[in-house]
């Protein structure tokens, strides 16, 4: 079977700086794929290229058989790749419920006229969206705070809400940008379990960009390590942990 996400020789230059050089990735369907690297390795740049925020200087990206390297972020989300952000980006002036309902927008079948006139289709769909959003919130244990302002939640809950919101777009691929950032070890362990559970429950493919080695080692099946925008290793967690190049990149060579 063809991989869900395939990156071929992608290079991203900012002026003279090549943040990502000749990167290749193959993310199989159903995989839990980790992309790691030390600070400034180009992880977030890769993420932004994959989600359409940046257009790569060279190379091709195919997602589910479609070339997406020239597509805009919203088009990529429509194709079925949803993301979260390293620095949480919830809709601040909306409630928890509205945040999730908003993400359901791209699956809406009603047209503007339905909403303006207030047709039966509009009301039925709004009720359905609300229902689905509440179900998602229940899964993440957030249904009790559905009416709260999204930014009033504690940090860990905001992270979970962001994942719930991404899932509301009904993705095939979930891209998580440093989901464990700012979490304590206890929260990180819970998050790892949650991520694995989401993959199994929603039958998704998950691509994780992470700085925290522990998180990645604990759950990912394939790990790719980059440094200075280039791949330095790829393999199972055990292989990565034993790889001298990885150790050098993280701890510094002698």
């Amino acid at each position: 079977m063809t991989p869900l996400l395939e990156v071929r020789n992608v290079t991203m230059r900012f002026g003279g700086l090549a943040a990502v050089k000749n990167l290749n990735m193959q993310v199989a369907r159903g995989a839990l794929y980790g992309l790691i690297g030390p600070n400034g390795a180009g992880k977030t740049t890769v993420f932004n290229v994959l989600t359409g925020v940046y257009c790569p200087t060279e190379g091709e990206i195919s997602f589910d058989g479609v070339n997406v390297e020239r597509k805009k972020p919203y088009e990529i989300t429509k194709l079925g790749a949803a993301r979260t952000f390293q620095n949480i980006r919830l809709f601040a002036d909306m409630t928890v419920l509205e945040n999730v309902m908003t993400a359901h927008h791209l699956r809406a079948r009603q047209v503007l006229a339905d909403a303006v006139i207030g047709t039966g289709r509009h009301h039925a769909e709004e009720a359905e969206t609300r229902h689905r959003a509440l179900e998602l919130l229940k899964i993440f244990g957030l249904d009790r705070v559905a009416g709260e302002a999204a930014t009033a939640l504690p940090y860990g809950s905001q992270r979970r809400l962001e994942i719930a919101r991404a899932l509301a777009t009904e993705p095939k691929l979930l891209l998580l940008d440093e989901p464990a950032a700012g979490m304590n070890p206890q929260e990180s362990v819970e998050l790892m379990r949650l991520i694995r559970w989401i993959r199994d429950e929603f039958k998704l493919t998950i691509l994780l960009v992470e700085h925290n080695m522990k998180v990645v080692m604990g759950i990912c099946e394939v790990i790719q390590v980059i440094d200075y925008g280039e791949e330095i290793a790829i393999g199972t967690p055990a292989e990565i942990q034993a790889n001298p190049k990885v150790i050098e990149a993280y701890l510094g060579g002698g």
């Binding site: 989300t77 002036d93 419920l97 908003t102 993400a103 503007l112 909403a115 559905a146």
Partner: protein, 342 residues
């Protein structure tokens, strides 16, 4: 609302408006409305349409446009042009004259539709290239656009040029003004409480996150811009054909745009009822302060400005904030999920 109930509500609204319109024009027994008050009430209606429509783009979508007077001018001149040059013809087709009550309403319909369409087209024309811009840049483009419109109108003799469209026939009445104000409120409210409204609020809140959620931000900004422009065009069509208030390019400059912005900021940007409250307050306030001018000419506007400054200092979120005033809120019964828009 069930369809049957909807029909009843619409019919009741129309009957109430027609009855009020009758009282406005012919009085009720010995009771006559002071024409000065009548004029203020009509202006309130027009300003509500303007403020609520501007709120769609500035408040809900969070895009700062200062060219609302431009769309109002496009709609106003188009609507008035149609009435002046083709109104007679249209009314005669139905065996009426432009000035009789039924005939004027028959003319009003195509006139307002033409105004709305012309303004919408202008909105699309400005919106597509400029809504890729953000913040200050968008503000400058919209300002530039409305000034261009004004200068173009100044140079068209068929619509009166600098002297204003003095040929305009006063066919606007209470009925049409408030029908359009209610329609504007209903349309924007229905958008706000729908998935399209949430898309706009998402854009206002965080454009990058909105894109990541699959929202085509440019498309929705243009959509909001076009609807907002069309409704401003309707307001232009109404005010252009209001008695003793001919269209004049001088009255449609950027000061008029700023006035509408002040209305929505004062009312609480993003709130529809806030826009209504803001439009009403700012239409009445300068009139209510008129007595000050008798002692000290010019004092009125000083007090007016002072009140605005004080209000912004002590209530920066506007009179309503982002809340909506509704019966449920008045009864202090909030919905379980606390949805702000419900």
């Amino acid at each position: 609302m069930s369809p049957a109930r909807k029909v009843v509500v619409i019919a009741a609204t129309l009957v109430a408006l027609i009855a009020l319109n009758y009282i406005f024009e012919y009085g009720f027994g010995d009771f006559y409305i002071n024409p000065y008050y009548a004029r203020i009430i009509n202006l309130i209606g027009i300003n509500i349409t303007l403020a609520v429509s501007l709120n769609l783009i500035n408040g809900m979508a969070g895009q700062f446009s200062i060219g609302h007077a431009g769309f109002m001018a496009v709609g106003g001149y188009t609507a008035t042009y149609l009435t002046v040059y083709h109104g007679k013809q249209i009314a005669e087709t139905f065996g009426r004259t432009v000035t009789d009550p039924v005939g004027s309403s028959i003319v009003m319909i195509p006139s307002l539709i033409a105004g709305a369409l012309a303004a919408a087209a202008a909105g699309l024309l400005v919106g597509i290239p400029s809504l890729r811009l953000k913040g200050d840049y968008l503000a400058i483009v919209t300002l530039g656009f409305s000034e261009i419109i004004r200068v173009i109108i100044l140079n068209i003799p068929a619509v009166g040029g600098a002297t204003g469209f003095t040929d305009a026939i006063p066919i606007t009445n209470f009925f049409w003004i408030f029908l359009m104000a209610i329609l504007t409120i209903v349309i924007t409210r229905n958008i706000a409480t729908s998935t399209f409204g949430r898309a706009l609020f998402a854009i206002r809140s965080d454009e990058i996150a909105a894109e990541a959620m699959g929202i085509d931000t440019t498309r929705y900004k243009v959509m909001a811009f076009v609807i907002s422009a069309a409704l401003a065009g309707v307001a232009g069509g109404l005010s252009g054909q209001l008695f003793a208030n001919p269209l004049n390019p001088q009255n449609l400059n950027f000061v008029r745009s700023i006035e509408v912005i002040v209305m929505i900021v004062l009312g609480g940007i993003g709130s529809i009822t806030g826009a209504v409250v803001g439009a009403t307050t700012l239409t009445i306030l300068p009139e209510a302060l008129r007595s000050f001018d008798q002692q000290f000419p010019g004092l009125r506007m000083v007090i007016y400005a002072l009140l605005l400054i004080l209000l912004m200092i002590f209530r920066p979120q506007g009179l309503m904030g982002r809340r909506e005033l509704n019966l449920r809120w008045l009864l202090r019964r909030q919905k379980k999920d606390g949805s702000v828009l419900a």
